[in-house]
């Protein structure tokens, strides 16, 4: 047991990779296609259980992280395998491990070709995603960040819909372009540290300490701003922040259900996580200076995403655009630089992962049956598939942000955080919150309109008459998600409490309230 807690994070990263090997091995030696999904499901479920150990007791490291591990990796360039979790990454890791078994189950019967490769890519993707959230070394972070691209590229490109190649390439180009700039910025940081402090480093903690203690300074010029932008571009494309969003509807629409679920639930959060973790702490001045741009873009995203979602003829595309609106809320909350807003942003990341993941699952269920996602093909489904309709309506309500469901808590905190912020001058903070609030109205419009056209009224299309309602597997998939929607809406305390100290620490750094300290003085007190 000690060994496990000692190396918990490493185990979490490696388990999926070993799982991928197991799948590969199985297909080489036995090649029984039916077994593959069971193996993958088993592995992802075990990983989920293991990840729950993160919630257990652990000592806080001097740097303010739990389960921290720092081993030399490549001595020549002074890069370490440095991992750890804090309140910010904890829930994102658990979200990842939670969503994976669901993703595997979501395409239980829908994979029609290259089964081995499908499950190998899923598992590799999981390794990469966990790696992104736990890395405390910029180079390691970058490698995981890039590594997550490749499996997703293939998941869309091979198992996607009719226009999959276009979508996959678009996804790859958009995101890879951004992260290349980030690499340049990471290398610049290394050199600047080398130049000013005497040794180069990719280590996040070391860089942060040097910055906080004033050993590393960007100078009066635009260096800090440029580096900030290089990081921010990579993350903004990932989120995606308007106007970098056009890859998202295509990628979501073409991806297989498992791909869409993971994309929405986890991959998008890598962007917002990166902004909060790295941009805010490494470039606090630039973050504050440029916050207004992100606030404007976030508000545009909220309203624009909602308006465009409203007129989509394709359900999946509609959900994709709604993601843009929700992620706009996350960005807005983060850049309010208030505890309320940032906690709300983190909470919305989790809530959006659950809710939008569930929406993509639901769209997947109906696509499996009818092989179309056009709203106009449906109508009156509630009389044919009552369980499906019930689940769909509840999930929709969570997405709309109805109180006591998970969407509300985060969005409420974000708006009240923005309202009470001081980052913009004068009343603009309040105006920003008011504009963002209109997104709440539009969300009701586009989602209810869709629900109304798909589920209510008379059965208009005879092809839908004999649709089966959800089967046991599908109900089993939805139940944990629905439970979380209600639980997170009614009792958000444990999640918010666990992330509080980390978020406050970041908030203090970005507001410049900690100058002259070191990270160890900012560490989280308790989980």
């Amino acid at each position: 047991m000690d060994f496990i807690t000692e190396n918990l994070i490493t185990i979490l990263i490696l388990l999926p990779a070993f799982g991928a090997l197991a799948v590969l091995g199985h297909s080489i030696f036995w090649n029984e296609v039916k077994h593959l999904k069971w193996i993958t499901l088993g592995i992802t479920f075990v990983i989920f259980l293991v990840s729950l150990l993160l919630l257990g007791d652990s000592t806080l490291s001097a740097n303010g992280y739990y389960f921290e591990k720092n081993v030399v990796w490549i001595e020549a360039i002074n890069t370490n395998y440095h991992v750890g979790v804090d309140g910010l990454s904890l829930w994102l890791v658990i979200l990842t491990t939670f969503i994976m078994p669901i993703a595997v189950l979501s395409t239980w019967d829908a994979v029609e070709k290259r089964h081995t490769a499908f499950y190998v890519f899923l598992l590799l993707l999981q390794s990469a995603m966990i790696g992104v959230f736990v890395s405390l070394d910029l180079l390691v972070f970058y490698l995981f960040f890039e590594a997550s691209l490749v499996p997703m590229f293939f998941l869309i490109g091979i198992w996607g819909g009719s226009n999959r190649i276009y979508a996959a390439v678009k996804f790859f180009i958009f995101t890879a372009l951004g992260s290349l700039l980030m690499l340049v910025a990471i290398i610049s940081l290394y050199y600047m540290h080398f130049q000013q402090v005497g040794f180069g480093t990719f280590d996040y903690i070391t860089l942060l300490n040097s910055l906080q203690s004033g050993k590393l300074i960007y100078g009066a010029g635009s260096t800090g701003t440029l580096l900030f932008l290089a990081f921010a571009l990579a993350f903004s494309i990932k989120v995606p922040v308007f106007p970098f969003h056009t890859w998202l509807p295509d990628a979501h629409t073409e991806a297989p259900t498992a791909g869409s679920v993971i994309l929405a639930a986890v991959l998008l959060k890598m962007g917002t996580y990166g902004l909060m973790r790295f941009n805010f702490t490494l470039f606090p001045e630039a973050s504050r200076e440029l916050a207004w741009i992100f606030i404007i873009l976030a508000i545009i995203g909220i309203i624009y995403g909602a308006l465009v979602a409203m007129v989509q003829p394709d359900i999946k595309r509609l959900v994709a655009y709604s993601s843009i609106a929700h992620m706009g809320f996350v960005i807005l909350g983060m850049f309010s630089f208030t505890e309320l807003g940032m906690q709300g942003a983190l909470y919305t990341m989790l809530a959006h992962g659950v809710t939008t993941g569930a929406l993509f699952l639901l769209v997947g269920f109906i696509y499996d049956r009818r092989h179309t996602r056009l709203i106009s093909e449906y109508g009156g489904l509630s009389s044919i598939m009552p369980i499906y309709a019930t689940f769909f309506v509840i999930t929709t309500m969570a997405s709309i942000g109805l109180p006591f469901l998970n969407g509300f808590v985060g969005e409420f905190l974000i708006m009240i955080g923005m309202w009470s912020a001081t980052i913009l001058s004068g009343s603009w903070n309040k105006i920003a919150a008011m504009l963002a609030g209109t997104g709440v109205i539009f969300a009701a419009v586009y989602l209810l309109w869709m629900v109304q056209r798909v589920f209510f009224g008379k059965l208009t299309n005879e092809k839908n008459r004999n649709l089966r309602d959800l089967n046991a597997r599908e109900i089993g998939l939805m139940v944990p998600l629905l439970f979380l929607m209600v639980f997170m809406g009614v009792y958000p305390k444990p999640i918010l409490d666990a992330s509080k100290n980390s978020v406050v620490a970041i908030q203090k750094i970005v507001n410049g309230e900690t100058k002259g300290g070191t990270v160890s003085t900012l560490k989280v007190k308790e989980k």
């Binding site: 678009k170 700039l181 056009t246 409420f412 109205i441 305390k493």
Partner: protein
């Protein structure tokens, strides 16, 4: 601080009822109507009993909430705490919420019973009652919440249940459209509540309604903060509306109230909401939910009293809505639509009362209205039931012969709403008009000067209209010739909008006879008729009671008065004498003085009201008993074309801009176009390069290479500059 954990039973009993019905009908697929109905009615029955126990202090260790100085509280759990922000899931019953909880549960109980008869034979019987109980949970949460955020939970919850119940007949187009419209329009209002709450929180650091101690932490209420920190009312300027002070907060909250209570400009959803089953219209869209806006305003009365500009706007919107809806009510042919517009109009009265500072009277009218409007709606439900789901009054007539109980009970409702003394509506409506005319409770800094008599005049004209359209409705339905088999004018055939039926509109058989409704429906009618007649007597003003030799018997006023904050009137002084010339003497501290002049004025006004109500009834009778199908002005019949204006002016442009401008224009056209364009350009370049080098260059790959090289080059250049 008084605690009573029974409070939570009031809200959780209906929630459990909803759950039980869902399990029973949805999970076990049981369809026994007796069981479903019993579950739902018992749940509400428990709420009713507990609400009355706590409100009146029957069998509780503490004084009844209606008579105590301190509210009865119940902390259930801590919902959200982040930074300084704290929102508890906690309930509180004070005098205001006590009154509300009592009449809501009481009226709801009888509507539930009525519904067991009305919904008999419906396929979704259990589902209907599950929703109805869920609504009760949300409504009682709204009323009993001890802070703005939990109130907002109930506020959104009733919106959701309203959505589910309006769209209850999911197979038909009209209900689902109406349901969505209701939800969205309510959401526009909700935006106002949210923003108002944010403003209140940033101003006062609290969102709580009551001072309390939780987890050893002192929580100060919003209202305590205002009473301690605000000294004078905000003077009138147009800028004060946007200044982010109490006026802004009050108006933001009022935006929410206009949505929930269907006031101008967010009123068009309520008449459409009549597409839901009739008990729903009675419960949600007449008696309880739609008055939530009034509750919000009265709950926040201290904020409004320091914001005279906001009160002025509330009064104007209220009066305008009252007369606007009344004109439309004159011309509707659907019996439920008449009642719907009448509800909007009566809600306008309530806001007029709030606007002129008569908060107690506003709640009084809410309560009397809950009884007589629930009665009228249930009566109309009984009529519709007896008429085989025909709602068009042009196809009714002479129903008094077939449905005597419904007829007589509805007469009491008619007299109540028309304002005939001793019926409930008379006292409450008349008080509103009196307070509007006299300006007795106007806040400091009220800006309309002597002109509040215009508001009064509007109210009086509305009262006449009310009497006319209600008489028209009664005459068309219960008197005159039988028109069951008449053909409607051709142009109106599409207008089956509100047909309250699960199956398609069907022809009435030639041997059709309307029938009286069963006991489950007539008993609630009789009970509500009794209260519509008598409930007003608990709030008889001194001017009336002294006429018959009684002293101060205004129990309602005495009960609720302490819940209304009393602003010090020191800066009014001289101007009050001038403004309100009919008052020689000001109210003394503590006990309200009974000024003979004021009493005289009140009596004269009341007499005038009664005369006008009789005039309205007479006019209606003369006009419609001869010609029940008399065409009303087209403008009224078409609801002033408000829906058309909203659709053409707001909905269509937004949809069109979103589709053609944002999506197809900007997203697909501009962004993707640009990216693809660059890609194509590079691809062209690539095919040129290909001549030199063997190999296929994908457009995107080339583009990324090109772009990345450019940027990396710049950064390397920059890094070198740093190093050098």
């Amino acid at each position: 601080m008084t605690e009573n954990n029974l409070l939570s039973l009031i809200i959780f009993a209906p929630l459990f009822g909803a759950f039980a019905n869902w399990v029973y009908g949805g999970w076990f697929k049981q369809r026994n109507e007796l069981v479903s109905g019993a579950i739902a009615c018992t749940a509400v029955g428990i709420s009713t009993v507990v609400a009355f126990m706590i409100a009146f202090g029957i069998g509780t260790p503490h004084q009844g909430a209606l008579f105590a100085d301190k509210p009865v509280l119940d902390q259930i759990w801590t919902w959200i705490t982040v930074g300084d922000f704290r929102a508890d899931f906690a309930l509180g019953m004070d005098r205001l919420s006590g009154i509300y909880a009592c009449f809501v549960t009481f009226v709801a109980l009888f509507i539930h019973i009525f519904a067991t008869g009305y919904m008999h034979g419906d396929k979704g019987f259990y589902r209907f009652f599950a929703y109805l109980n869920l609504f009760m949970f949300a409504m009682l949460t709204l009323v009993l919440a001890d802070n703005y955020l939990l109130m907002f939970v109930g506020w959104e919850g009733v919106g959701l249940c309203s959505y589910l119940l309006i769209g209850y007949y999911i197979n038909k187009d009209e209900p689902r459209r109406a349901a969505k419209k209701a939800f969205v329009m309510n959401r526009i209002g909700d935006w106002g509540v949210l923003m108002g709450m944010f403003l209140i929180f940033t101003m006062t650091g609290s969102i709580s309604f009551f001072d309390k101690t939780v987890d050893g932490q002192q929580v100060q209420s919003v209202f305590t903060w205002v009473s301690q920190n605000i000294m004078t009312a905000e003077p009138f300027t147009w800028g004060i509306i946007f200044a982010g002070g109490l006026t802004s907060a009050a108006l933001l909250l009022f935006i929410g109230a206009t949505g929930k209570s269907a006031q101008i400009p967010l009123l068009t959803w309520l008449p459409d909401a009549m597409a839901g089953p009739t008990p729903v219209s009675a419960l949600i869209h007449a008696a309880t939910m739609v008055t939530a806006g009034v509750y919000l305003v009265v709950r926040s009365n201290i904020i409004f009293q320091y914001a005279p500009t906001a009160m002025w706007i509330v009064a104007i919107i209220g009066a305008a809505t009252a007369i606007f809806a009344a004109t439309i009510g004159l011309a509707q042919n659907d019996i439920k639509k008449v009642l719907a517009y009448s509800t909007v109009s009566q809600l306008g009265y309530m806001f007029l009362a709030c606007g002129v500072g008569a908060f107690v009277i506003a709640i009084f009218h809410v309560m009397t209205h809950a009884f007589f409007k629930a009665l009228l709606f249930l009566g109309s439900g009984s009529v519709i039931h007896g008429m085989h789901h025909e709602q068009d009054m042009r196809k009714m007539g002479n129903l008094k012969k077939y449905m005597p109980i419904t007829w007589i009970t509805m007469i009491t409702g008619w007299l109540a709403i028309a304002g005939i003394p001793i019926w409930a509506g008379f006292f409450s409506k008349d008080e509103i008009l009196y307070y509007t005319f006299s300006g007795k409770n106007l806040p400091n800094g009220w800006i309309a000067g002597d002109w509040n008599w215009i508001l009064w005049a509007v109210g009086v004209v509305t009262a006449v209209f009310t009497a006319v359209y209600m008489t028209r409705m009664m005459v068309m339905t219960f008197w005159g010739n039988e028109r069951f088999h008449d053909e409607l004018p051709e142009e109106d055939h599409h207008d089956h909008a509100g047909d309250d039926d699960d199956h398609d509109h069907h022809e009435i058989p030639p041997d059709f006879k309307p029938h009286e409704s069963p006991l489950t429906m007539t008993v609630p009618l009789i009970v509500l008729a009794f209260f519509s007649t008598t409930i007003g007597l608990i709030g008889v003003p001194y001017a009336m009671s002294s006429l018959v030799g009684l002293g101060d018997v205004n129990k309602f006023y005495d009960t609720l008065k302490p819940a209304i904050y009393k602003v010090k009137k020191e800066d009014k002084g001289e101007s009050k004498e001038v403004k309100n010339f009919y008052f020689k003497k000001k109210a003394e501290e503590g006990k309200e003085a009974h000024d003979p002049d004021a009493i005289f004025t009140e009596r004269v006004l009341a007499a005038l009201s009664v005369l006008l109500a009789l005039f309205g009834i007479g006019l209606g009778w003369m006009t419609f008993s001869k010609n029940p199908l008399k065409r009303m002005p087209k403008l009224f019949e078409q609801k002033w074309y408000l829906d058309e204006i909203y659709n053409k002016g707001i909905v269509d442009p937004i949809t069109s801009i979103s589709r053609n401008g944002l999506w197809k224009g900007f997203d697909v056209g501009f962004i993707d176009g640009t990216v693809n364009g660059i890609g194509n350009f590079v691809s062209e370049l690539g095919s040129f390069v290909r001549k030199l080098q063997v190999g296929f260059v994908r457009s995107y790959a080339a583009f990324i290479l090109f772009g990345a090289l450019l940027v990396i080059g710049y950064f390397i250049y920059y890094a070198f500059r740093l190093l050098s």
